[in-house]
C-alpha cells in the first residue's frame, strides 16, 4: 500500500499528497480534451456551476466541439432511457372521412411506423364524428389517458372529460363541478386544462382554468351580481371525485390559447403540468413555439414564422428562466411545417407541408416517414406503456 503524507497545509494552499510509489499522480492535471469526456456527462446544472472552476469552462456552452459531445450524450442517455422504459408511441389525429369532415382516431404504433399500427376505439362520447376532442397534457400516465371534449350548444361552452385505460377499456367520466353551472349568458370559457399524477397521494388529477364572459352591455337585463365572475382555477382529484377551487392568481394578460394552434393542452412531466403562454399579442417577432418533454426535461421547439429552422431549448431547472439552454438546431429543412411531439427514440415528429408526418433524428437530421396524413393542426403523440390499473379502484 502506498503511504500518503500531507505536506504543507496553509489556509489557501492546496494540500499536496505524495504517493510513495507513483510520484504525485493524484494531483496531475487532466487535459481539456479528455476532461470534456467527463464534463459532457454531467447534468447541465452541475456544468453551469463548474463554469466557475476556470475561464475556459465558463465558455463551454459556446464551444462547438464540447456542445457536440454534450448533445451526443444527451441523446445517448435518452435512447437508453427509452429502451429501458419500453412502450409504444400513441398517435392521436383527425383523419379525413371526406373533404372538410374529420374523425378523431387513436392508434398505437409499435415501430414508430403507421403501417405497424393498432387502431384503438375511442370510448363514447369521444367516438363521435366531427367532434373536437383531445388528450389532456398529451400524456399517458401509468397507462391512463384523460380525454377531453369541448362542445358548444348555442352560446354555451361545455367541457367533458373522462379517464380511460385502453388496455382494460375502462372509462370513467369526470363529473362537472358546481362552479361551472352558471346562467347561460355567463358563458364559461375553458382556457387551459392539464392532467397528471400526484405521487404523494397516489391520486390522478385534472386542472383547468375557466374564465367567464363579462357582460358589459348596460342594456342587458342582467342582475348586477351576475355581471362579472372571477376566473376560476380548479383541480379535480380522482380519489375524492370532486373539484375544488385553487386560490392561485393567474396573472392577467397571459393568453395561452393564442400560441398553440391546437387546444392548449400543455404537457405533463413528473408531477407538474406546464403550459406555454405569452403576454405579447402579435406584436412580437412572430415566433411559433411548441412545448414538449424531451429526455425527461421540459423543452421548447421554436421557429420564426414560416421558417424551416427549428431551435430546441431545454429547461434545466424549473422556475429558473436563466436555465433555458439551447441544445439543438433542426434544419433548415424546407419540407417541414410544424413539430408535433418527441418520440420513443428521441426523434421529433414533424408535420410536413404536404400533411405527412415524419420523424427527424436529432443527431443525424435524417427524415423517416411515418406514413400518415391528417388534418392540419390536430395531432398529439407520446409514449404509452400499458398498465392494468383500475381507475375505479382509486376512488376512495
Amino acid at each position: 500500500m502506498e503511504k500518503c503524507v500531507p505536506m504543507a497545509a496553509g489556509k489557501n494552499e492546496d494540500l499536496k499528497y505524495e504517493v510513495s510509489n507513483n510520484n504525485n499522480r493524484i494531483n496531475v492535471h487532466i487535459p481539456d480534451d479528455i476532461a470534456f469526456s467527463i464534463l459532457s456527462k454531467l447534468p447541465i446544472k452541475s456544468l453551469k456551476r463548474f463554469g466557475c472552476v476556470r475561464k475556459s469552462w465558463s465558455l463551454l456552452f459556446e464551444n462547438p466541439y464540447f456542445m457536440n459531445m454534450l448533445r451526443n450524450h444527451f441523446l445517448y442517455n435518452n435512447n437508453r432511457h427509452c429502451s429501458d422504459y419500453g412502450g409504444d408511441t400513441f398517435l392521436f389525429l383527425y383523419e379525413p372521412l371526406r373533404p372538410h369532415y374529420y374523425r378523431a382516431s387513436f392508434y398505437l404504433l409499435s415501430n414508430d411506423k403507421f403501417e405497424d399500427r393498432i387502431k384503438l376505439d375511442l370510448p363514447p362520447p369521444f367516438d363521435g364524428e366531427d367532434i373536437a376532442m383531445y388528450i389532456l397534457s398529451s400524456v399517458s400516465v401509468n397507462g391512463i389517458f384523460c380525454l377531453g371534449k369541448d362542445t358548444r350548444r348555442g352560446i354555451v361552452n361545455s367541457f367533458q372529460a373522462a379517464l380511460w385505460n385502453p388496455a382494460t377499456a375502462e372509462v370513467m367520466g369526470i363529473p362537472p363541478s358546481p362552479d361551472e353551472s352558471v346562467p347561460p349568458y355567463r358563458d364559461p370559457f375553458f382556457i387551459f386544462h392539464g392532467f397528471g399524477y400526484d405521487n404523494v397521494r397516489d391520486d390522478y388529477k385534472l386542472i383547468r382554468y375557466i374564465t367567464f364572459f363579462q357582460v358589459v352591455d348596460e342594456e342587458e337585463d342582467v342582475p348586477y351580481e351576475d355581471r362579472s365572475y372571477d376566473p376560476l382555477l380548479q383541480i379535480y382529484s380522482l380519489r375524492s371525485n370532486t373539484w375544488r377551487i385553487l386560490d392561485v392568481n393567474i396573472p392577467d394578460g397571459y393568453d395561452i390559447s393564442m400560441i398553440d394552434f391546437e387546444k392548449p393542452v400543455g404537457v405533463y412531466m413528473d408531477g407538474v403540468c406546464h403550459w406555454w403562454g405569452t403576454t405579447d399579442f402579435g406584436n412580437g417577432e412572430g415566433y411559433l413555439v411548441r412545448l414538449v418533454v424531451l429526455n425527461e426535461s421540459i423543452a421548447l421547439i421554436s421557429n420564426r414564422f414560416k421558417a424551416t429552422t427549428f431551435h430546441i431549448s431545454i429547461l434545466v431547472e424549473l422556475g429558473v428562466k436563466e436555465s433555458w439552454i439551447k441544445l439543438f438546431i433542426v434544419g433548415p429543412i424546407p419540407s417541414l411545417d410544424w413539430p408535433i411531439a418527441v418520440g420513443k427514440k428521441g426523434g421529433i415528429c414533424f408535420r410536413q407541408t404536404n400533411d405527412e408526418l415524419v420523424w427527424i433524428d436529432l443527431s443525424t437530421q435524417i427524415i423517416d416517414e411515418i406514413g400518415v396524413k391528417g388534418e392540419r393542426y390536430c395531432y398529439q403523440m407520446g409514449i404509452y406503456k400499458e398498465s392494468l390499473l383500475c381507475i375505479g379502484g382509486i376512488n376512495d
Partner: protein, 160 residues
C-alpha cells in the same frame, strides 16, 4: 501465472510490463481492446513483453479484470457498479488516465460517466483540485459569475 498458449490461436497471451517493472499477462483478444497496446504489438511483435511506461502495477490488474469480463461479453450494470464500488475518487482518476493512455475506449467511457456521477454535487474547489486546474478568474469575475449562475448552486454544499 503465465498461461500456456494452446494450439487454438484465440488463447494467445501478451505480456505487459508496467512503469514500475511488474509483468502481467492478458489475452490477445483483450489486448485488441486497448489500442495503444495493439499498436505496440503491431510494431514490436506479440512475443516480446510490451512496455507500458505510464501504467503502474496498482491499476493494470484492475484494467485487465475489466477487459477479461468484456471479452466474454458479460459487462453488466451490476458488474460495473461492483467494479468501482470500493474505489475512491482519486483511484478512479488514476484508472481513467490509464484507460486514456491505453486508448481503451469502453473502459474510458464508463469511467468518464462514473467520475461525472461522483463529481455532480461536489464543490467548485474540489473539482478544480481533481482536474488539477488553476482558477484564472479574478475575485470580481468569479463572484460575478457565481451570482449569474446562483440557481446552479442551490442545494450544493460548497465547502465539500
Amino acid at each position: 501465472m503465465a498461461q500456456e498458449a494452446s494450439s487454438s490461436t484465440s488463447s494467445k497471451t501478451i505480456s505487459l510490463k508496467t512503469g514500475d517493472g511488474e509483468i502481467f499477462e492478458i489475452e490477445a483478444s483483450a489486448a485488441k481492446q486497448m489500442k495503444t497496446v495493439q499498436r505496440l504489438i503491431d510494431d514490436l511483435g506479440d512475443d516480446i513483453t510490451i512496455p507500458l511506461h505510464n501504467v503502474f502495477s496498482k491499476e493494470l490488474p484492475k484494467i485487465i479484470e475489466y477487459y477479461k469480463k468484456d471479452i466474454t461479453g458479460e459487462i453488466t450494470k451490476d458488474f460495473e457498479a461492483e467494479f468501482v464500488k470500493d474505489l475512491n475518487d482519486d483511484e478512479v482518476k488514476v484508472l481513467f488516465l490509464a484507460a486514456n493512455y491505453l486508448d481503451a475506449n469502453k473502459l474510458f467511457e464508463f469511467l468518464s460517466q462514473n467520475i461525472a456521477d461522483r463529481l455532480e454535487s461536489k464543490s467548485v474547489e474540489y473539482v478544480r483540485k481533481y482536474f488539477g486546474v488553476e482558477n484564472d478568474f479574478t475575485p470580481e469575475e468569479e463572484s460575478k459569475l457565481r451570482e449569474e449562475r446562483a440557481w446552479s448552486f442551490r442545494g450544493i454544499k460548497e465547502d465539500e
